[in-house]
């Protein structure tokens, strides 16, 4: 599967760039940028409120993305799909609205491998109202310690939400999310899955969770847009997050009535062009087939891990565990930032540092790491070029 041709940025001109930072943001196919252009050039209007042709068209295109997302993640109803500005925004909505009245009797359970986006909002909530945060460690093989999860859930006294990334961006090891879901639900806990890394490469199924969040810019869509799936009824009666236009039914200084789901959580003018672009990105992914993308990235990830494991001075994080979409590693006796800088001089773009997941990397590695991450356009040849460049770098470091 060579999809490079769909990406203007990967055309001949840029042929000397090996982009291995798709976990940070994926590249954007032409159909998406074309669609964004179409919005601005053909029906550049605000949505919902206008009744002229452009507003009508924009509203239709925008609302037409909801059923696309719904199908893509296996939700039941359009109103379960909330447009956000990204994964971070989605988690903040759940923490601030679903858990708005939680206190020190209530618990959020995280894994040790969470992205900052799934840590900080809970810490802020804790600072304000004293909720308990329980952190489940990983086993030495990189998988979640289910015994500890089970113990933690059993000790919960009040309400509980289990919030975990299906595919942590600092390990690349799939969470057994079905088991997490079952264990949580058996004890009446609510389940939030962070799908930022999983939705772009594994079939999503929201029947396993109550909330699912992901970002457009990691699934070949535009920046500044994301999705919050919220199971029917879960947010209907909550005090909304942002206040403003479009999220209300009527406003009086004496009394304001909030709008129904999903608009209740879409305050003000949202990223209209972004939402419309995301719809096209999801259709494009659907056309290729998420199963095919999974297969492709599995092969690339296996190959990359095998090649990296083969280099003497390279230590892969959890070297034996199966990876999907990314491989995290360090070079012995070299700082990751130096390696990344030198790889870049050879046209190889990787990420270095703590990957917005400091807790797990500080505890497991103790210093900044390197991450090579993949997309549908990544080829075996790209991996070979990474390895060649790495060898050249290690020769001078």
């Amino acid at each position: 599967m060579n999809k490079k041709c769909d990406f203007q940025i990967l055309s001949d001109l840029n042929d000397d760039c090996v982009y291995l930072d798709s976990a940070a943001t994926s590249l954007t196919p032409r159909c998406v940028t074309d669609k964004i252009g179409e919005y601005y050039n053909c029906y550049n209007a605000n949505i919902h409120r206008g009744i002229h042709d452009w507003a009508e068209r924009a509203t239709g295109e925008y609302e037409g993305v909801r059923p696309i997302v719904k199908e893509f993640i296996g939700a039941d109803q359009d109103k379960e799909i909330v447009f956000t500005s990204g994964t971070t925004h989605g988690i903040n909505i759940v923490a601030n609205c679903f858990c708005s009245d939680w206190t020190s009797k209530d618990t959020v359970i995280l894994s040790e491998a969470e992205h900052h986006a799934n840590i900080v909002p809970w810490q802020q909530l804790k600072a304000r109202q004293g909720l308990r945060i329980e952190v489940i460690p990983l086993l030495p093989d990189g998988h979640l310690d289910f015994n500890r999860l089970s113990m933690a859930i059993q000790q919960v006294k009040g309400r509980c939400i289990v919030s975990m990334s299906i595919l942590p961006n600092a390990t690349g090891i799939m969470l057994d999310y079905q088991q997490v879901s079952q264990m949580s639900r058996d004890h009446g806990a609510t389940v939030l899955f962070d799908g930022a890394q999983s939705v772009p490469r594994v079939k999503s199924d929201v029947s396993y969770c109550d909330f699912l969040v992901f970002s457009g810019h990691k699934i070949y869509g535009p920046t500044g847009v994301g999705i919050l799936y919220a199971g029917d009824g879960l947010l209907d009666e909550m005090p909304p997050y942002m206040g403003g236009g479009d999220m209300i039914k009527s406003v009086r200084f004496e009394r304001t009535t909030y709008n129904d789901m999903p608009w209740r959580y879409e305050a003000g003018t949202t990223n209209i062009a972004g939402v419309i672009g995301l719809g096209v990105a999801l259709n494009w992914v659907e056309n290729i087939g998420i199963e095919n993308i999974y297969q492709h990235e599995k092969e690339i990830s296996d190959y990359a891990q095998k090649q990296l494991n083969g280099l003497d001075r390279v230590s892969v994080l959890y070297p034996e565990a199966e990876k999907l979409g990314l491989v995290v590693f360090t070079v012995n006796e070299a700082q990751s930032v130096d390696v990344a800088t030198l790889l870049n001089t050879q046209g190889v773009a990787v990420r270095s540092g703590y990957l917005c997941a400091e807790p797990i990397l500080v505890s497991q590695v103790g210093r900044g790491v390197l991450r090579a991450s993949f997309g549908i356009y990544t080829t075996q040849d790209d991996i070979d070029r990474l390895i060649d460049a790495l060898n050249k770098v290690m020769a001078i470091l």
Binding site: H48, I51, E56, T59, E63, D78, K249
Partner: protein, 133 residues
Amino acid sequence: MTIEAEIQDIKEMLDDIPDDFAKYSTIIEMGDELEPYPEEFKLDELKVPGCQSDLWLVAERKDDVLHYRATSDAVIVKGLVALMLQILNDRTPEEIRDFDTDLLKELGIKGLLTPGRQNGVGSLVQRIQLLAA
């Protein structure tokens, strides 16, 4: 006449009209012929939500069929109401429930059913079906 045939009829009538302005003039005239809506039924409970103008709807069972009365203070909505009732009035609950609202798109009235729109016709049809449930 079946619902489909009724829609087809109206569609043909509208298709003959050359432009949208004239189409709406006709729709407005259809509203003038709407069965009068009793003032005492202009109750908040009978309002259909999601419309820039007020839209009231009340249903009544007559033998096997449902009889709707509705009105709006916006004349275009009132005309559209007339049009909808011409299609859906005095039918059995089954007919109404089973009716695929997508068929209305055939009428070629722009934005008639766009979700999140404020002309209220989408909400009207929803409410009509709800009352038949």
